[in-house]
Amino acid sequence: MQQRLVRFIQASGVKALGFALFLSLALTGCATKTEPKIGPVFYPPPPNAPRVQFLKSIKNSKDVEEQKKNFSLFVVGSDTSTDQIKEIRKPYGIAYAKGKIYLCDMQTPDIVIMDLAGKKFETLKGNIGQGKLKKPLNVAIDAAGNIYVVDTARKEVLKYDAAGNFVGSYGKEFVNKPADLAVDATSLYILDLGDSDIKVVDLQSGQLLGRIGKTEGGVQGLSIPTNLASDGKGFLYTTNIGTGSIVKLDKDGHILGGFGKMGKGFGEFVRPKGIATGTENRIFVVDGGHQNVQIFNEEYRLLMFFGDQPNPAGMLNLPASIAVTTENLEYFQQFAAPGFKIDEVILVTNQMGPDKVSIFGLGQMLDGAGSASGSEGEKKDK
């Protein structure tokens, strides 16, 4: 009986079965994953006027690059595009310059360079040989597009040119435990977590120009500092795990004050980490303990916070670093809810969870625009 059946198949049905199998394999590519639609996520929550909107997140290269169409009548077999997805493993430092996101992936270890508008997801070209990264923690870009990376395992700052080629390094001789950095036209500012100070380095010669930020007399200086931000006007801001506070100083090393303390209240910190400045001298501070971002004005007054509310999207998960930009607003505006005008874009890295980079827009709802309607951008992005 079995032999007859085999013969029947072999004789009359083998061609049809083969075609059915081919068709089913080919059509597998047509099945699309459906993700639940969510409305816009705003902070602060209603009835307050919305000031920050969660725009989108980046999990891996798929969220950046042009999505390849899986359907093919001619390719049979496994989904080859899945193999091409480049993952971000353990992000930390982030910078944004000239339309590109520079992200430190400590685990890979590498620098991921993402051009959202250009739909490119690349890694650092010079991450080989002498320029090989061991544990990149934070990254900064200078006006010429040169890339500076703090490598906490190599205990130095590595410099790559705008094309990603390794150029040289700074600080091996005098840095103890580099954690973060800032750069201006003439100097590199290396935040040293081990020495609780900032090493000012001449960009040209690599010479140590000075150490600033030390506690002197009655003036509280840096205390186990983790992150550093420069406002581009000569002022530096550091987050300090030791005191749970932010210290502001000028590039000459004069400590100008600070704010915050350990605590769970508004404007207080548990594990202050990434810090950035924005327009109107606003200061954005990431807190790994509160798992949020607190925004302060130039008088150190807390304006609002976001990221820790239980929303369907945009919740931060062990956030680490932050970058704030006013570049390419037109690109990011597409992700905003109708009527919500973005003035500034905030990028936050998450050390845990699927969202490796969470992107938020700071702005305001234009007169007459409602906030209840769904985010066209969010839907489009899905």
Binding site: G234, D250, D252, H254
Partner: protein, 443 residues
């Protein structure tokens, strides 16, 4: 012809008895005074005595008793001819009582409206109303001449105090010129916009000019309490506030063309007094002369502002400055001592010995502002190099020199792309360079 004759005869028949009756009442030395009144009550003048009076005894006259009475009592007598009153919200007390004769004479007087008084009604009104509040040095025109009924209705009104209209309307009926200007004024004192004028003015009389309810500035402080409080504790007060006219010397009290209810723009107003040579004793500087033809004005002055630096009412600091600044030529920098200047200028300008941020007046990183001002023995105040109002020099650096007794100490400041030099009367010529420090080159 026959018909007209008949009509004339009928007219005579009607007229003759009336004439004879009036002649009967107002002659024979009986009621002679009524006949001689300049403005008689119409019935009296017409001899229509019986329209009000009625004979109550057969004989008339009867010595020792009255043989005529009134046909009605109280206001009912008057309302036979006049329209009844007392229907409006506010009724003059005698009118409500039907006591028309409290004000009017029934047969007539020498004045209109059967009143004993003419245009000056004060004697009549003060018969009941207290005259004491009217005995003040400053009086509202109508009140001063007793024209009470110019504003008040004598009988009844829909408005309080028997006014002829709402308070503002009652005022603006006469003050029409004021009303016209008010309509087009860009800046209006809020109470003037819609509130009753009597919020500030007494409508009759006052001890204060402009019949204000209280003298300025106290009247103004009723609303502007913050200024009053500040002024009460101020060590230095702007003179005009305490002089006659007080607030009104600088502010238009009703409306104006400039913000702050100033009669003109701020700078012009201030220079109106401070642009002369003989203001005060010893005379204050003539600021107009300081500004005239100068290339550079201090920022606020460029904007036409004086009050950014000087409090126009009062201050705890000399020259009515809005913050602390040393009075003398020398004062070593210390936190707070120069806060007046540092309200606008970078607070860190004078704090640090070295800087690459807060000033261009540095040799390398050596802060030369710090060098000048922080000298613990003889810290130089800003005015030793900078003019406070205007200068021909950049950064208001004095060109003409600082008055130092008989000598005007020159600065002789020269600027270069990366620094500058000066050869003042204070020290030997010195220069500085931000990029290649002179101090280093001299070593």
């Amino acid at each position: 012809m026959k018909a007209s004759f008949i009509l004339m005869a009928l007219g005579l028949l009607l007229f003759l008895p009336t004439a004879s009756r009036a002649e009967g009442c107002l002659t024979a030395g009986c009621h002679d005074s009524i006949r001689n009144l300049a403005r008689g009550h119409q019935p009296a003048a017409d001899g229509e005595c019986l329209s009000c009076h009625v004979q109550t005894a057969a004989e008339h006259p009867v010595k020792g008793s009255k043989s005529f009475g009134l046909v009605e009592k109280g206001a009912a007598l008057c309302t036979q001819c006049h329209e009844a009153m007392g229907k409006k919200k506010v009724v003059h007390y005698p009118v409500g009582d039907g006591d028309c004769l409290a004000c009017h004479r029934p047969h007539g007087t020498a004045n209109p409206y059967l009143l004993e008084v003419g245009e000056d009604q004060s004697e009549l009104c003060f018969g009941c109303h207290d005259s004491e509040p009217f005995k003040q040095p400053f009086m509202h025109g109508p009140a001063a001449v007793g024209a009470c009924t110019r504003c008040h209705s004598p009988h009844e009104s829909e408005h309080k105090s028997l006014l002829r209209g709402p308070v503002r309307d009652a005022c603006l009926q006469c003050h029409q010129d004021f009303a016209r200007q008010l309509k087009t004024a860009p800046v209006i004192h809020p109470p003037v916009q819609s509130d009753p004028c009597i919020d500030c003015h007494d409508p009759h009389a006052s001890a204060s000019p402009f019949i204000l309810k209280n003298k300025m500035p106290e009247l103004c402080f009723d609303c502007h309490a913050d200024i009053g409080k500040r002024l009460a504790g101020a060590k230095v007060r702007h003179k005009p506030v305490e002089q006659e006219g007080s607030c009104g010397r600088c502010h238009s009290t009703h409306f104006s063309q400039a913000r702050g209810l100033l009669p003109t723009d701020e700078k012009s107003l201030c220079l109106g007094c401070h642009g002369v040579d003989n203001l005060g004793q010893p005379p204050l500087k003539n600021i107009s002369k300081q500004l005239a033809g100068k290339k550079h004005l201090h920022g606020p002055l460029e904007q036409g502002e004086c009050v950014s630096c000087h409090d126009p009412h009062g201050s705890d600091f000399f020259r009515l400055l809005t913050g602390p600044y040393p009075e003398g030529l020398y004062f070593p920098y210390r936190e707070g001592a120069y806060d007046f200047c540092l309200q606008c200028h970078d607070r860190n300008l004078l704090r640090f010995e070295e800087t690459s941020l807060y000033t261009g007046f540095r040799d390398g990183k050596q802060n030369l502002h710090f060098v000048h001002v922080s000298d613990s023995r003889k810290g130089r105040t800003c005015r030793l190099c900078h003019e406070s109002h205007a200068s021909d020099g950049e950064k208001l650096i004095s060109k003409g020199g600082l008055p130092f007794g008989d000598w005007k100490v020159p600065i002789r400041f020269e600027q270069t792309a990366t620094g500058g030099s000066c050869a003042p009367g204070c020290h030997r010529p010195l220069s500085y360079d931000r990029q290649n420090p002179v101090k280093d080159r001299q070593r």
